[in-house]
Amino acid sequence: MSAAPLPIPAGVSGVSAGAPIRQSSLWQDAWRRYLRNRGAVLAGGIFLLIVGYCIIAPIVSPHDPNRVHFPDAYQGPSWSHPFGTDQFGRDLFTRTALGGRISIGIGFGATLAILAIGVVYGAVSGFVGGKLDNAMMRFLDALYGLPYLPFAILALAIIGTVNFWTMVVALSIASWFITARVVRGQILTLKENDYVRAAHAVGLRSYAILSRHLLPNTLGILVITIFLELPGVILGEAFLSFLGLGINPPDASWGSMAQDGRDAYRAHPHLIVIPSLAIATLVLCANFVADGLRDALDPRTRET
């Protein structure tokens, strides 16, 4: 280094004239706050670990997840089969990972669909305001807490086939009410900001205001919402599949694996316990991540 800078006297903070002030964006701040929350970091780590296991295990596993081999049926956990085997002698370590791909995939798919519907409904309601807003919100008030399961079952009956995408539709069809309300609330608050008034004043069109100034600022809330909605959707998929109305063989999800294990749980409880615990762990982690994200992105609502 040539031309060493003037020494800064001790006791004065490290900000020297001319040096750029270290800026930290909203997201960097949030990330820092998140990292300070040990529970949320641990939960996020386990969450990623499960997702990684679901992606990698079927690729590296020496066992063919669909190979039926009856002499190996109903084995308990061992070195070669860490999660044991099912009634057809298929390796559960590999199959649980495959089931996880479908369960988590449907979970994220339906969550994104819920977000999409909720954002459109909430943004229109909050942005247009007035009578339309009133009508749209009274409608949501009345539907609050409507059970999604009957409507999911109905939707599947109508579509007639059960696969990944129809499950996504079925699980999002009656689950977006809360998200819509949250987005609307956020838009209402943001609308009062001076920069939005300024944008109105300089004659920006409504669409531009909505897409450039309002929606980007709901992003934080939406990230939280992803992890708030995910547990419900993953459990919903599991319920549907457990009732025999969801994912069908030869595909498997954690819910349908639990259903398979139901017949033999008296003698071989691991068949139902392993996929159920996979669901429980993922849901537990998602809840902790959601809490951590809420504290990090929206410090005002931090719980005491």
């Binding site: 807490g145 409507l146 999604y148 109905l154 109508i158």
Partner: protein, 308 residues
């Protein structure tokens, strides 16, 4: 307040009509109408009579109007599969059991969840608090079919204490209601803890303490009263949880209620039953919301202004 209640009540009517309409239109989309000509060959006259009996020969809006009339007069029409029974018969027979199950589950939740939340809030960051919140988190995450299976496995099969399934004596009702009550319990514990902590920091609580009121009285009169309001308002969303949960719990414990029958009816393509039950459950949730909103206004005067 009166204006708010009236407006809220009036708004319920179009929402109910809309929910019936959506359900009705959804049902019409289902492939495999039991009287489709392709399903089986019946004489034309019989087909005509069948369609007339179930009013399938009219245009859809007439059918819809007639269905709404049926809902209003509490007549949900005949079952398509069980020849001699109407949807009303099925509701009358099965619904009381589901209500009983749901009430017990709610009872467990209030009995354990609310006190757990109160004690946790009074001793924040204590061992009890951590334990209660751990329980709450785990309670949310465990799928109820795992809870049910484990309870049956240990309590019924290993220890032989309670029957595995059925719905006769209190012994049969214990395990299903506990399983179904777990999520509401976890919910109440967390909710009550949160609102209590918030109330404990309120100025009026500090004032009550400062003027020398005994702590027990402060908590009993000022804190509890204000922190338990959310318990009332949470009842409506919890109803949704309980309905969803009852589908699984009734299925596993073989409780002959609505949740179990719904799944049977879907598999049997008994669409009038499916539709009737969907409409019934939706209306119950909508009415519960209405009741809670009105109660909320009465219990917490602060919300009246904001909500009108």
């Amino acid at each position: 307040m009166a204006a708010y209640i009236i407006r809220r009540v009036i708004w319920t009517v179009p929402v109910v009509l809309l929910v019936i309409l959506v359900t009705f239109l959804l049902m019409r989309q289902i492939e495999g109408n039991p009287f489709r000509k392709t399903e089986r060959a019946v004489p034309a006259a019989v087909q005509e009579n069948l369609e007339r009996k179930f009013k399938l020969d009219k245009p859809w809006y007439v059918q819809y109007a007639q269905y709404v009339k049926g809902v209003v007069t509490l007549d949900l029409g005949p079952s398509l599969v069980l020849r001699d029974r109407s949807v009303n018969d099925i509701v009358k027979e099965q619904f009381p059991r589901s209500i009983e199950l749901g009430l017990y589950a709610f009872g467990w939740a209030v009995l354990f969840g609310v006190p757990a939340g109160i004690v946790a809030a009074l001793r924040p960051n204590s061992r009890f608090d951590y334990g209660a919140m751990l329980f709450s988190n785990v309670g949310f995450a465990l799928p109820n079919f795992l809870v049910a299976t484990l309870l049956i496995y240990y309590v019924s099969l290993k220890w032989g204490l309670l029957p595995t399934s059925g719905w006769e004596s209190w012994k049969h009702k214990l395990l299903p209601s506990l399983t179904l009550g777990l999520v509401p319990m976890a919910y109440f514990a967390r909710l009550v803890r949160g609102t209590m902590l918030e109330t404990l920091q309120a100025d009026y609580v500090r004032t009550a303490k400062a003027k020398g009121l005994r702590w027990r009285r402060v908590v009993g009169v000022h804190v509890l009263r204000n922190s338990l309001i959310p318990v009332v308002t949470a009842a409506a969303p919890l109803l949704g949880y309980i309905i969803t949960g009852s589908f699984i719990v009734e299925n596993i414990f073989a409780v002959p209620g609505i949740g179990r029958y719904y799944v049977t009816a879907v598999s049997a393509r008994d669409y009038s039953v499916v539709m009737g039950l969907t409409v019934l459950l939706s209306i119950i949730v909508i009415l519960a919301n209405l009741l809670v909103d009105v109660l909320y206004g009465i219990l917490d005067p602060r919300t009246r202004e904001a909500r009108t």
